[in-house]
């Protein structure tokens, strides 16, 4: 027994000594979480320096009126057809409401609007939305698949669930909470459109791949009205006509055509280049677009330019937008984490918003709803890393992890905090 005790004692001492030796290696939080900031958006290490390709000359026809806008614009899943919308007259299908009732289109932008009928035509769905700028000799047929909006809703629900999980992990983060509320409300609004038999139409600004500064000509903020007419066409469930044909089943049936609805479209000149974020919204309230650069520099209405070249060239305070922040094509944005946020500044009603971001040779559009509950709170839209071979993946919602208090102590710098407070 005594021998056993001696052996165990020796073993205990050996294990303990081994432990104490192994404990001598300290970890580095900085190496583990390089690029972290106060909000806990963990980011990869510095992605390096990006070199832009040389600018190419403007070969696109300038957009100066409704006719040139119509020629330059496009729709998702759309057909461009000469002539006016071929309605039979005395349309008898349910009237439609367009949300929002006024939209702004800019260079490289993407605008969505929902077409919601007063009622549902039994056994039918809205198979196409017809769009025509008033006085222009061509129109568009935006073909709607039955499952399209359902797929959008599923994606919105997934995004809302992800944001809610992130907010639950950081209960003190007002920004994350606001983002989760925004996305959840947006998913609910989309579900309401779906339940009402409505559809969503996506309108894409002139030449999204252009490297020119201003396809819609004029100084930044210059605009011209281009009112449009929209009509919906109902088709039997399970079918999808060939809308490119001169006629199709039911094409002359007034009971399948909604009455024309007016859409106040306006074209606004904004800057574009190596990076562009454009915000539009639905209601006559004041919403602001914010950009935080990798070094914490904050670009917004109160500080419109940055040393690295970012510019807020259009600010709107009374409704619908756009607000636009961009780097000119000949300016290389700094590498690292960029944060795009929106803020409900002032107003009395909630509003849907759309932010289109063009960078990293790609484009993404984000939608949400801002309520009056959190005025002044920066609602995250996209946090992404700019650099060579970058993408517009959201590193905030994609890899959110609440920072420990040790990480906050290590990584919270005065510049970042000041930028966020502003």
């Amino acid at each position: 027994m005594k021998k056993n005790n001696s052996a165990l004692r020796t073993l205990a001492v050996a294990v303990s000594a081994a432990f104490l030796l192994s404990a001598c290696d300290e970890v580095s939080l900085k190496e583990q979480y390089a690029g972290d900031d106060c909000a806990g958006a963990f980011t990869p290490t510095d992605p390096g320096t990006v070199v832009l390709p040389p600018d190419s000359p403007d070969t696109t026809t300038p957009v100066v009126d409704a006719t040139t806008l119509s020629a330059a614009i496009s729709f998702l899943q759309a057909v461009r057809v000469s002539g006016a919308i071929p309605t039979p007259g005395a349309e008898a299908a349910p009237a439609i409401t367009i949300n929002p009732s006024s939209i702004r289109i800019t260079d490289n932008s993407q605008v969505e609007f929902d077409v919601v009928p007063d009622s549902i035509v039994a056994g039918h769905y809205i198979g196409a939305v017809f769009f025509q700028f008033d006085g222009v000799g061509e129109h568009f047929i935006s073909v709607i698949g039955e499952a399209d909006l359902a797929a959008v809703l599923a994606a919105e629900n997934a995004a809302a669930a992800e944001a809610e999980a992130a907010a639950a992990a950081s209960p003190a983060d007002a920004q994350l909470a606001a983002m989760a509320a925004s996305l959840t409300a947006q998913a609910a609004a989309t579900a309401a459109v779906l339940a009402a038999g409505g559809v969503r139409v996506t309108l894409i600004g002139p030449d999204p791949d252009a490297s020119v500064d201003a396809l819609i000509q004029g100084a930044s903020g210059d605009a011209f009205a281009a009112p449009a007419t929209v009509q919906a066409f109902w088709v039997p469930t399970g079918t999808q006509p060939d809308f490119t044909a001169a006629t199709w089943a039911g094409s002359t049936d007034p009971a399948l055509w909604s009455p024309p609805a007016a859409l106040a479209t306006e074209a606004v000149a904004v800057g574009s280049g190596s990076f562009q974020a454009t915000l539009t919204w639905d209601q006559p309230v004041d919403v602001d677009l914010h950009l935080t650069e990798p070094d914490g520099t904050h670009v917004y209405y109160g500080s419109r330019t940055s040393d690295s070249g970012a510019q807020l060239d259009v600010d709107d305070t009374d409704g619908f937008g756009p607000e636009n922040i961009f780097y000119p094509a000949d300016v290389v944005p700094p590498s690292g984490l960029f944060q795009v946020d929106v803020v409900y500044y002032a107003g009395s009603v909630e509003t849907g918003y759309t932010v289109t971001i063009n960078a990293c040779n790609s484009s993404r559009t984000f939608r949400g709803i801002l309520t009056t509950a959190n005025p002044g709170v920066q609602v995250p839209v996209l946090d992404f890393n700019f650099g060579p071979a970058c993408t517009l993946d959201n590193v905030l919602t994609g890899a959110l992890d609440e920072p420990s208090v040790w990480e906050q102590a290590l990584l919270c710098t005065e510049s970042i905090a000041t930028a966020r407070e502003n």
């Binding site: 005790n5 432990f19 983060d173 007002a174 208090v405 290590l410 710098t413 970042i416 905090a417 000041t418």
Partner: protein, 181 residues
């Protein structure tokens, strides 16, 4: 996430080995004891400096060689080496301690503790609304020796390791005194 996850298992095993293998046969006459001391602690993170702190505890001998304790520890203020930020770390603990009388003058002890740690962050740049206090459960193990000055008093020296203080481990070395009554 916690640095030293594997180490924690090894250390717990070592501590349990010390306590459970019957190597603490020395008899103790008193049933209550109390102690305290100063310590120097170092978080196992490169970017933070070490800090001075103190601890105090009161214990009860449930067997001749085993005591249970309640204690408080102030690990001190850990400062970020390159900036103004500091973290004040305190804990309250419940421990089981095994004693081994080596000879008339020297004894050894091993201690396993469950602790409730509290961190108060002093971060001037922390954004408004951010949490600047954290608390949670961790655990610790320590070894030490004591030099007896009479039957009721001994001078102690300890080396301890505290796990999972909000994802970070802390190593401590301290000296103190213990009184039995």
């Amino acid at each position: 996430m916690a640095p030293g996850g594997m180490m924690s298992k090894r250390f717990a095993a070592a501590g349990m080995t010390l306590l459970l293998t019957g190597i603490v046969p020395a008899a103790q006459a008193a049933t209550w004891y109390a102690g305290g001391g100063i310590m120097q602690s170092d978080p196992r993170v490169e970017e933070f400096d070490s800090a001075s702190g103190a601890r105090a505890y009161i214990g009860y001998m449930v067997k001749d060689t085993i005591g249970v304790e309640l204690g408080v520890q102030d690990f001190g203020s850990f400062a970020v080496s390159s900036g103004p930020n500091e973290l004040d770390v305190q804990a309250v603990s419940a421990s089981m301690t095994g004693f081994h009388r080596i000879n008339d003058a020297i004894s050894a002890h091993g201690r396993l503790s469950v602790l409730h740690w509290m961190i108060d962050a002093n971060i001037p740049a922390l954004p408004p609304g951010s949490v600047d206090e954290e608390s949670g459960l961790g655990y610790a193990a320590s070894f030490g020796i004591g030099m007896h000055l009479g039957d009721a008093f001994r001078i102690t020296a300890d080396l301890g390791y505290t796990f999972d203080v909000d994802t970070v481990d802390i190593i401590s070395a301290g000296a103190g005194a213990e009184f039995r009554f």
